[in-house]
């Protein structure tokens, strides 16, 4: 009986003393943290993808709270909506960023770009790229081993077995840019996402002269410049034998798509042209005379 009482009392005293010490230390060495960091973090998607350029969502929240303005701070996954909420918490103006989407600029399908050798080593684009030019005669195009697919945390990329090229699911793509970094050939670009995901882009990055590029791939951009001449908005530039459409200047008139001799310019997510609409290519002249 005595032993039980002594044990209970002594343990109780030790516990009480320890509690007091812990409480004093906790108060003495308390780290003051801005409560807004937690608040901002709770608004963020929590994917820790690093698409914003920070080490993770917590780090991004800390940067937002510390910053005097939200310029240059943008969560590509959450987009404008999340940034508006963050701005609301912090009492700042959110920079309005246009939504972007990853675009694979290569159309070297098995059909367009025949294989000239075969590779059996480690399945990794980075390794193949450092070893040699790849299975086709094009040293610039997609290698097709899926480093971008592995890098995507959102399941937005998949390899199309028929073409051997990665396909972007525009619904799932958050434009975090992980695939852009993972691609050793720098084929993937984050481009402005048009209404309903529409976009016009040159699906080729081959810098070879026209003839050489064409020999390697029938869908290659040959740098002829027809598209640049056709474009009324000065959105197209041709450098190093390859055309580039500035997605911020492009008005998506799709005139360049029609003039491209190798069909290297792609217009995506536009509604399929109805037979009537196809006829319209000749119709506008009539229509305009009609109006007059």
């Amino acid at each position: 009986m005595d032993i039980v009482a002594i044990s209970v009392i002594s343990l109780g005293v030790i516990g009480a003393v320890a509690a007091v010490i812990l409480y004093v230390i906790a108060q003495r060495f308390k780290v003051e943290e801005d409560p807004r960091i937690d608040e901002v973090e709770s608004l963020l998607p929590g994917a820790n993808c690093g698409g914003c350029g920070k080490a993770g969502c917590r780090n991004f929240a800390e940067s937002c709270v510390k910053a005097t303005s939200l310029d240059g701070l943008f969560c590509p996954v959450g987009g404008s909506e999340v940034m508006k909420k963050v701005a609301g918490v912090l009492g700042m103006e959110a920079a309005d960023a246009t939504p972007r989407v990853a675009v694979v600029r290569c159309n070297g399908t098995c059909e367009n770009r025949p294989r000239v050798n075969s590779y059996e080593g480690a399945v990794s684009c980075a390794i193949v790229n450092s070893l040699y030019a790849g299975e086709t005669a094009c040293a610039y195009g997609c290698l097709g081993y899926g480093d971008c697919v592995a890098a995507c945390q959102f399941g937005a990329l998949s390899l199309d077995a028929a073409t051997g090229l990665p396909v972007v699911d525009i619904e799932k793509c958050t434009a975090c840019g992980a695939c852009v970094k993972a691609c050793p050939r720098h084929i993937i670009e984050l481009r402005k996402k048009g209404p309903k995901g529409r976009g016009v882009y040159v699906s080729c990055v081959n810098k070879e002269k026209g003839g050489v590029a064409r020999k390697a791939c029938t869908a290659a951009c040959i740098g002829c410049g027809k598209c640049a001449k056709e474009c009324q908005f000065e959105a197209i530039t041709v450098a190093d034998n390859v055309a580039y459409i500035d997605s911020d200047k492009c008005k998506m008139c799709r005139k360049c798509v029609e003039v491209c001799p190798t069909h290297a310019i792609h217009a995506v997510n536009f509604p399929p042209k109805k037979p009537a609409e196809t006829a319209q290519t000749t119709a506008p002249a009539d229509a305009s005379t009609g109006n007059n």
């Binding site: 059996e120 080593g121 480690a122 390794i127 450092s130 070893l131 040699y132 030019a133």
Partner: protein
Amino acid sequence: MKTFRIGGVHPQGNKLTAGQPITPVGLPKQAAILLSQHIGAPAQCIVAKGDKVKVGTLIAKAGGFVSANIHSPYSGTVAKIDVIADGTGYKKPAIFIDVEGDEWEESIDRSETLVTTCDLDAAAIVNCIEEMGIVGLGGATFPTKVKLCPPPTMKAEVLIINAVECEPYLTNDHALMMAKADEIMVGIELLMKAVNVTRTFIGIEANKPDAIALLTEKAHAHKGVEVVALACRYPQGGEKQLIDAILRRQVASGALPVSTGAIVQNVATAYAVYEAVQKHKPLIERVVTVTGKSLTHPGNLLSRIGTPISMLLEAAGGIPEDTGKIVLGGPMMGKATANVETPTGKGTSGILVINESEAHRTAPSPCIRCAKCVSACPMGLEPYLLAKSTMAGNMEIAEKGHIYDCIECGCCTFSCPAHRPLLDYIRQGKGQVMGIIRARNAANKK
């Protein structure tokens, strides 16, 4: 018999062309001379389209300290300075020469007479080696003059001549030793003078008994030169492995091989040094072993630098029908080429045609942790761990595992019972870790 102490494998020798003499091949109609045939900065082109050149004319100057001069192996007219796809399929700058006749620079002594006397001092010999564009002919193509000028804090005590030729199939060094033993001995004396050492060991593997006998006999006349017969083991021709095999000294991680007191030069380099110093002949041609089980006339071909590979294969009887793969170099360290029109370079030691039945890799299966790769690694690394950490993107573990010490010999991939492409990953990881270390050093300097 001596050999190195850590790891290594013993692949089948397959020295099909052993004992075959060196046969010269003809000249191509047009040749492309790559500007980057050596480790280090590419050479700077000093000729222009339309210039007339002779055999031995300097056409590109060394582009830095670690770089080498390039001389024209042909006489003719410079057709253009353009790019050509090398063995990797990537386009590299090259000088194209339309070959007209075979006119040599007058300064080059083309006679076969052996010149043994040399009045030059050490600095003049090194200077001549630099002028003549000599690089290590074992395959790594490291500019020879850089190796002959060790940092002032280090002193060479001994010269090691690498005549190991541990790569299966290749016999170019063997053929050269049998044909040019006297010249090689003079080349060795010149190298000894250049680095101021009194002892030389010539390491030769036991599968070349005729070369061991011949060089041992020749070495009697040369003070301080000794032939060391070595047990066959790959990669004995690696600089660090050879130093260990002969001197029982290990090169510390990150240190230069000369820190052990040894300077290693390939036997073909010694011959090139002889020709450069005694005959004023730049490095414009080399022996290339063209071999393969299905080739009708495999051989050791003396060809000018810049000869298209297709021409060498033609000289060996043409590309066989059952060809599965064409490899530049030996089967262990060589790289498969995607293009037979690519020109040879100073480092092209062999062209290996592998049959369709032997060319393919077996599909990899999961690692069973047998540690065969660990036993095989001549650098004492853990290949399975390095490959795995690279795959996972964990470069810290790779760096802790000394991935930068990997010599890319391929023993791990060769020994893996699960056929895992270990070296493919390790090579990638090594590049990444080196990049990280460079960036860190640059940041620390600031």
